[in-house]
């Protein structure tokens, strides 16, 4: 039973346009959400996070939105660049509780392709 789901295995976007990656979760105890970016043959790189007390967090071209009632978060990349082409993983945890509940649960990833 997947607690964190990324329902789109892939997404293709034109350079300069907005990329929107989506993620759904089922566990209402999750209070910390993160996005990671992964290039082939490299480890995931932390991009941006949000805690459940907020509904938006922005860092440069990257914005994460959290809708707690819908148990949904999304990552917006504006404007998209060819270098953004990578696999993006959504992750969540019940950080407040600590222990194994603080471990990150990952989605299966969405492969973003940004075409010039």
């Amino acid at each position: 039973d997947q607690q964190v789901k990324q329902n789109s295995p892939s997404l293709s976007v034109q350079e300069g346009r907005i990329s929107i990656l989506n993620c759904d979760y089922t566990n209402s105890m999750f209070d910390y959400f993160l996005w990671y970016k992964k290039y082939p043959a490299e480890g995931p790189t932390f991009l941006i996070s949000i805690s459940s007390i907020k509904d938006k967090n922005e860092d440069g071209r990257f914005t994460v939105f959290l809708n707690k009632s819908a148990k949904h978060l999304s990552l917006h990349i504006v404007p998209s660049q060819p270098g953004d082409s990578a696999v993006y993983f959504c992750a969540a945890s019940a950080a407040h509780y600590g222990g194994s509940q603080g471990n990150l649960i990952f989605g299966k990833g969405t492969k973003l392709s940004v075409k010039p």
Binding site: L34, A41, E42, G43, F46, A95, K108
Partner: protein, 112 residues
Amino acid sequence: DVKVTQSSRYLVKRTGEKVFLECVQDMDHENMFWYRQDPGLGLRLIYFSYDVKMKEKGDIPEGYSVSREKKERFSLILESASTNQTSMYLCASRGQGFQPQHFGDGTRLSIL
């Protein structure tokens, strides 16, 4: 910046061999993790550790063991390598509370 270093980027071993994958972090993090990544399956947690000498099984511990003798070092051991353990192995560390997890560059392990 947090630095998580995995000892090898690429490794080729034979079936039945005992394989050691080493990971070192430089941020005094209590928590360390080993994952494997396979196409279509995302990141799957093998083992994790909250402190020196402590270890906990993750989702797929069968065929693996771990060692954490020092806080900065977390080793993954394949007791008797098999071809289905061919994969990308990722080590990560994290501080306490609302902190992101930081990953190493990964080890691409091939078992022949």
